[in-house]
């Protein structure tokens, strides 16, 4: 019979190299992926030009000088003790606003350490005063 024998051949595109391409792309991403471990102390700055009058008794002043000595409401205090002292004061006065003022030459490290202590009290009323 003049019927073409049905060709038994299947036409197959070899997909064996697909895995190789995928491996190469994978290695590229393995090498370039960096897990971002940025962490820090969040803060919201006040909009410019806002000065609100606050009764003095509701403000707790923390002053930091250039040597890293801290005065909390005119009492010298060690940085690790700031949190407990602030919590005590906050328990007495709910509306307490904590104001942190540094010297122009104070190092950023001390500022962050004090800010850290203030943030640990959980207070949301924090103000950063203009350094002098």
């Amino acid at each position: 019979m003049l019927v073409d024998k049905k060709k038994d051949r299947e036409i197959v595109i070899p997909t064996s190299s697909m895995a190789d391409i995928a491996f190469i792309l994978l290695i590229f991403f393995l090498v370039t992926t960096t897990m971002n471990t940025d962490k820090g102390i969040p803060m919201v700055l006040p909009p410019p030009g806002q000065t609100k009058e606050v009764p003095k008794k509701n403000i707790c002043n923390i002053l930091v000088n250039s040597q890293g000595d801290v005065l909390l409401g005119n009492e010298p205090i060690q940085i690790p003790n700031i949190k407990t002292e602030l919590e005590r004061r906050m328990a007495e006065n709910e509306n307490l606003i904590i104001s942190v003022k540094t010297d122009l030459k104070t190092s950023y490290d001390y500022f962050i350490a004090v800010l850290d202590q203030v943030k640990m009290t959980g207070s949301t009323r924090v103000s950063i005063a203009e350094p002098e």
Binding site: T15, M18, A19, A22, F23, L25, L26, F29, L30, T32, T33, T34, M35, N36, D38, K39, G40, I41, P42, M43, V44, L45, P46, P47, P48, T102, D103, L104, K105, T106, S107, Y108, D109, F111, I112, A113, L115, D116, K119, M120, I128, E130, P131
Partner: protein, 135 residues
């Protein structure tokens, strides 16, 4: 002669699913990779305990301060230029979070000026980058 035909047993572990596994891993990495664009300045960050992770990296811009220079997006800026640069970023992205990466030993004077510039530009959401204190 009776020869037992050596039975040829070819055992093959089916590797047909290997590309699927690879693709899955690949898609994971494609989704998690954020290409690092800027190197910034060499800075030793201060340490703190109450630190929080930055929520979204996409809306974050970094300002590096190492005592002598201020850098943003790998450009060295004068203090006065910070507000313009930040303002244009803020227009592009209202949810901008500025991440301040200051060296531990910089003085508050620099930081205060940067604060004022940020307030003038209207970028009020900031984050002080710190390392976790090993207490």
């Amino acid at each position: 002669m009776k020869f037992k035909k050596k039975s040829q047993v070819t055992e093959e572990i089916p590797t047909a699913s290997m590309p699927d596994i690879i693709f899955m891993l690949l898609i994971f990495f494609m989704v998690t990779t954020v290409l690092k664009r800027f190197t910034g300045l060499p800075v030793t960050l201060p340490e703190a305990e109450k630190i929080e992770k930055i929520e979204s990296r996409r809306h974050t811009s970094y300002i590096w301060m190492d005592g002598a220079q201020i850098s943003c997006d790998d450009q060295i800026l004068e203090v006065g230029q910070v507000s313009d640069v930040v303002y244009s970023k803020l227009i592009a992205d209202p949810q901008l979070l500025i991440c301040l990466k200051g060296d531990r030993q910089i003085e508050m004077e620099v930081l205060h000026k940067v604060h004022e510039e940020l307030r003038a530009a209207g970028a009020l959401r900031i984050n002080y980058s710190t390392k976790l204190k090993a207490s």
